[in-house]
Amino acid sequence: MKAIEVSHIVKTYNKGKTLAVDDVSFSVEKGEMFGLIGPDGSGKSSIFRILTTLLLPDKGSATVAGHDAVKEYKAIRSIVGYMPGRFSLYQDLSVEENLSFFATLFNTTIEENYSLIKDIYTQLEPFKTRRAGKLSGGMKQKLALCCALIHKPEVLFLDEPTTGVDVMSRKEFWEMLKRLQKEGITVLVSTSYMDEANMCDRIGLIQGGKLLRVNTPSNIIGEYPDRLYALKAGAPYRLLKDLSAYPERADSYSSGAYVHLRFKNPDQGSEGRLLEYLHSKGHEDVELKETEATVEDCFIRLME
């Protein structure tokens, strides 16, 4: 039995005018960490809400831990943990009150499953009397995670848990998820940060409601068909502009400190001609090297 099974789900809003999820199918194994990777508005949250029984799909079917997401919604609601994209705790209750409220709601106590949240909660403990609304972004997310975990769910749904969280906290957060996975909890997580994709066992790239590709991060990167170049120069912005006017390029975009570039029909002389072109445009200190594709590069390539 798969932990999550989604087959041909279609979801529209505004009486069919807005297509949010377009014929999406995928499955998640038990104990797997599966990431839905895509920009804002790509349909991730809709999929989460269908799986957590909060929305009904227009077409298609889904099961969570073997239960049908439409008919057996009650069964699903008592075995999953859900952390919505928006911070969904009570701002006027303290850290401890929030946690014990959610524990009681799921018929359990903080003590019963303390081992599960221990790593996270020890960081929160110094602030346990502070109101949730006064916590920092990272702390809020950790508390929300604790609340979603406190009843030891079989499947954990985390909708953009790291949005608005600083880099350090994001790293910590993912380490926690890894530890939870070791406890046997299946995790479905979504993110719009491409660099987080590598933390998942498998990822699904989603764009405009369509699932573009599902595979392990390394396979997705391995499937990248072209040679990819990284460029750097003294005037980054002008470099980007001049590159987009270069007739031989297929694609160019900034990626971190570099500009990534693909040629239309690469041959032996491609690199030389490009350097010449940039020189003629007056760029100095031009650095050009071939580079490994990242998930982001794959995503951009697939979007075309």
Binding site: M83, Y90, D92, S100, T104
Partner: protein
């Protein structure tokens, strides 16, 4: 059950930690009672009246003395020509002029008939009528005290008694009105807002994805407001009994029971509003428009329903406050028992069931 209690505790925490809500919850009734009781009263006290005494005899002096003795008037004695009365009104302060003709007592003794001219500023008709009635009462009173005087044989004298409220005080009228207004406003607005807030903050999503029954979410939200409204009710009643000297003639238990019914009506209305709105603002707006205006305008508390156009009279039947207002007046002022108000109770109860039915049917166990 433990879940339910925890939920109720959480709701109480929300209320007590939000100063604005608290202020509104308990400040509103106190302010209303005090305002209506002491400031916005339509009773007349110390009205400026002018007396022109051309007679200066025993009878006129005694009548004037009675006027001065009453707390309704502030009497100013003046001397003026008959043509000058309008001038006095134009200055604005004087509400009424009483003119005694010369030979007043003499006429009374010899012709059994004397005249007093009363000129009132009727630009405010209610005040004018009331003042004239007071003056007439004083004159009649004097007449009755005359030796061998009083009504002549064969005269018909209507004996007027203002039942339940002999002093024509304002409080008996507005306290039931304020009770209806405050209970409805607090319950409808607070319940609808607190449910919609969960939707707006996204906590509803988490609550729904839990084994806790959605219907219990609603019930748990209603409990604190029911309790707080009872406290509110007690505060209003204590204020009206001790600060406004308004006695409760009927059964206090019955009064509380009927009020509980109204509170439940209000809670179910709040629930109904919460099922059709998505933001706190619209919930607040709907509660205000849906509750405050009809309660003030159409419950009979500000304006008598009998005087309204037919169409408004018909509409007023669906305003819960109207029925509650009738019941509270019956219990508090007339001291009537349940057998006199079972019809109103039934109507209000029916409304409650109707609102509950609609809102429970509309309540969504999902997001859409």
């Amino acid at each position: 059950m433990k879940q339910f209690i925890t939920f109720v505790k959480k709701e109480f925490a929300h209320v007590f930690r939000d100063r604005k809500t608290l202020l509104m919850l308990f400040g509103l009734p106190v302010v209303q009672i005090v305002l209506f009781g002491f400031a916005l009263t339509n009773e007349i006290k110390h009205a400026d009246i002018a007396v022109v005494d051309n007679a200066r005899d025993m009878a006129s002096e005694q009548i004037i003395l009675k006027m001065e003795g009453s707390s309704f008037f502030h009497v100013r004695k003046m001397v003026m020509d008959p043509g000058q009365t309008e001038e006095v009104f134009r200055q604005g302060k004087t509400k009424l002029v009483v003119i005694f003709p010369s030979n007043f007592y003499n006429d009374l003794l010899h012709y059994n008939k004397a005249r007093i001219q009363i000129v009132a500023d009727a630009s405010d008709p209610n005040t004018a009528t009331t003042l004239v009635a007071y003056i007439t009462a004083i004159v009649n009173d004097y007449q009755a005290s005359l030796p061998g005087g009083g009504p002549l044989p064969y005269a018909i004298v209507p004996e007027v008694r203002m039942l339940y409220n002999p002093d024509l005080k304002g409080a008996p009228n507005f306290v039931p009105g304020v009770m209806a207004l405050v209970l409805l406003l607090v319950c409808v607005m607070m319940t609808s807002i607190s449910i919609v807030r969960e939707k707006e903050l996204g906590t509803m999503e988490v609550l729904l994805v839990s084994p806790f029954k959605p219907i219990l979410v609603i019930l748990a939200k209603a409990v604190p407001y029911l309790v707080l409204s009872m406290v509110n009710l007690a505060v209003i009643l204590l204020l009206s009994v001790y600060a406004l000297d308004l006695p409760i003639r009927g059964s206090v238990i019955l009064l509380f029971m009927e009020s509980t019914l109204l509170i439940i009506t209000a809670l179910s209305l709040g629930l109904l509003i919460s099922t059709v709105t998505e933001s706190q603002q619209s919930a607040m707006f709907l509660s205000m428009m849906g509750m405050m205006l009809p309660t003030i305008m159409l419950s009979g508390y500000m304006f008598p329903i009998e005087n309204m156009p037919k169409i408004l009279q018909v509409i007023s039947n669906v305003v819960p406050a109207k029925w509650y207002y009738i019941m509270v007046k019956a219990i508090m002022l007339k001291g009537l028992g349940f057998s006199y108000i079972w019809k109103e109770t039934l109507i209000l109860g029916g409304m409650t069931l109707f609102f509950l039915f609609i809102s429970l049917r509309n309540f969504k166990i999902r997001l859409q």
